[in-house]
Symmetry: C2
Subunit: 421 residues, 2 copies
């Protein structure tokens, strides 16, 4: 993409009412636009980052048998009344609007109910199980305070997967499988080493649920972890009884602030029974389907990555989610420089390497500042100086060192960098 | 995809309350699920069709300089008050919900206002123009009657593009360009020959807007067209004055029922002035940005294709949007048949041809019925009979004729079919 074809420009200042670092950076770099507190639009580069995160999650969900689909945003009160989750006294994040004179619709803040009801169409026998369905959904929640940028929004992108199993044994097997798949996702996003699977509060069908918590000073959660045992516990469930259960001594625990980047729940028949989701087992006996649900906040992860991988100069995207791999800055509009930069751009694009080509007339200092702010992994400079030295200048966003390379070597280096696992 | 891995099954009957043919067929075939009147969820095959339509639209929008992004669903009253489109008396399709004690949010039913306001951040000089931005958005509209399936929904997928130009001349050029691009889209979807660009009601900045209308007995619109002149006019603007303007005689007009599959508007400064979207021209004078907007209903097109390309046995997808190209039915679980079908499936998938492999234990008659109902372009049968005859049986969905082909010839035929433009 040539920068001259991109309508977005960078900004020196974020809006005065934007308190969070992640949104400040993303707005300044032109990735997102603030519509109101907790509500952001995704500009072309921001949409690419979100899509890259979704694609990683999609690959991992497909690898464990997930089937992608998309449920509606508009929700009929009826099915939520069946599970007692329509009343504002029970669920305080509903947006609700008038439909007809005496009727209302809700706006999906989660989708256990419609997914369970949908499955009554397709599940009737043990032969139909298990089923794993997931979607990428824009969830809407009436959060009264939303001041953490993409970390807690009123409108946010979520991957939610729902599992439908015969019984607890079948469920538990999948629960373990998706836990591993979540950890693979965090590894691919570059936050594997600071993300912990934690014990969180359970429900009638399981003593605990689990969350995935990434250490971060801006997190809303407090976790305790025990490095020796490799166990982490959310603050709200920490008690002597729980510690005894898990065989952990309080002494070894370290307190940390963290951001919840995933959660997985065992529901059992909590939703299947009231919504009539039963199957006939091998003996001909009717059984409730055993359910679980598994969330990952896509926009929250984007916010976390923006917040975590940043320095004073701007964003630093992990390679797997960067909107482009290379920021190519042409520092002069001299014919030879333009020609060399154009040719390099074409060649990289032909080789399947994504490039944001700054062909604008901004001053070199502005281009360098933008390259840092935008946070693409590699910066290549084409200038009279570089051509005189026989090539182009290459720099990693994470490094201050530059190297001058002839074209062939430059392309080889870029290819090697972008193909590393 | 193996059918055994797909949770969806087909149904003999659509829900009793579903009146429209397109939704009846799509529900029976397991492409969509009805949540309430005018609100449907997209199951795996339905999502694939919608994505295929989006991809065609995306390619054509990118080809004329469109930049993809995504605006928010939640809407702040403020910007809609600025253009006088917040009041229910002015716009009667708003869904609105309480946010805080004294505040409301709206749910995006269109996006002229937020797109124009966003652009005030990025457009200030003539050098910043033109800009063409688009999105695929789930629009929400409080339609009191919604009984046409995907043709008119309360929740529907729309591509909306917005153009920002210096003046009418620059605008008019793009308006023509996108008109041509819309016609290419309808051609690629297989409805080019029954889709007309029609004159529709304009506004303060243009005598007419234009719609794209596809002839269909279930359409809500009436158009008149003059084959000799190649001109089509919406009923609501037909008058002697308009006919005189266009140089058309009333005699040659034929009345037809049609579905609106696209619309394009010239807005001029209707939204840019109240929202403060101005630019400084070459002479240093401030001018309002000249706007237009261009919609295509993705889910409506899906409904129209389902409705139009169908016979008594089910759906008939145009090749460019079919969720899979081949329905491979294995009619026996005999080891040789299974082996031959498995190998054919692997080979086709390796060759990049998408296959829905019916490896289930359904009876042959059920498999044939499902193949017709699902509407994939090609049906291949692997059976003891076909293997004895030296291969597989191939049939087009649009044809009753079958041919028995050895494996190599079969694969060649399929490749030839799927690579035709």
């Amino acid at each position: 993409m040539r920068r001259s074809e991109l309508f977005v420009s960078t900004r020196k200042q974020a809006p005065a009412d934007e308190e969070s670092k992640n949104a400040q950076l993303l707005i300044r770099a032109g990735y997102i636009h603030k519509e109101m507190a907790g509500v952001y639009s995704y500009l072309p580069l921001g949409m690419k980052v979100a899509e890259n995160i979704k694609q990683i999650v999609r690959e991992e969900m497909n690898a464990i048998g997930g089937e992608e689909m998309i449920l509606s945003t508009l929700q009929h009160p009826h099915i939520w009344q069946a599970t007692d989750r329509w009343d504002d006294a029970k669920v305080d994040v509903w947006f609700k609007a008038a439909l007809g004179k005496d009727s209302q619709v809700g706006f999906g803040w989660s989708h256990e109910e419609p997914m369970a009801r949908l499955m009554t169409q397709f599940i009737s026998s043990y032969k139909d199980l298990p089923v794993y369905t997931y979607q990428f959904q824009t969830k809407l929640r009436r959060e009264l305070r939303a001041k953490s940028g993409l970390l807690r929004g009123r409108e946010f992108i979520m991957k939610d997967l729902y599992s439908f199993s015969r019984d607890r044994a079948e469920h538990d097997k999948f629960y373990e499988q998706i836990s591993e798949s979540y950890m693979r996702i965090y590894q691919r996003l570059g936050i594997g080493d600071i993300t912990y699977k934690t014990f969180a509060s359970g429900g009638p069908f399981s003593k605990f649920s689990h969350e995935f918590q990434t250490l971060s000073p801006v997190g809303e959660d407090t976790i305790y972890f025990h490095e020796g045992e490799g166990v982490a516990i959310n603050k709200e469930v920490l008690s002597d009884e729980v510690l005894a259960d898990l065989g952990i001594a309080r002494d070894g625990l370290v307190e940390k602030t963290a951001v919840e980047v995933g959660n997985i729940f065992t529901f059992g028949s909590r939703y299947s029974e009231p919504l009539g989701l039963f199957y006939t087992d091998e003996k001909g006996i009717q059984q409730p389907v055993f359910m679980g649900s598994y969330g990952i906040g896509i926009s929250r992860l984007m916010g976390l990555l923006a917040e975590h991988f940043a320095d004073d100069n701007g964003l630093i995207w992990p390679r797997n989610v960067a909107p482009y791999q290379v920021y190519l800055a042409r520092l002069s509009s001299q014919p030879e420089v333009t020609k060399a930069a154009d040719q390099l751009y074409d060649q990289l694009e032909n080789d399947g390497i994504s490039v944001l080509y700054d062909d604008s007339d901004l001053r070199p200092g502005e281009k360098f500042a933008d390259a840092d702010l935008l946070g693409l992994p590699l910066r290549v400079v084409a200038s009279e100086k570089s051509l005189t030295a026989g090539g182009f200048e290459l720099k990693l966003r994470t490094n201050t060192e530059t190297s001058m390379l002839p074209k062939d070597k430059l392309i080889d280096s870029i290819k090697q960098f972008t193909s590393e696992p």
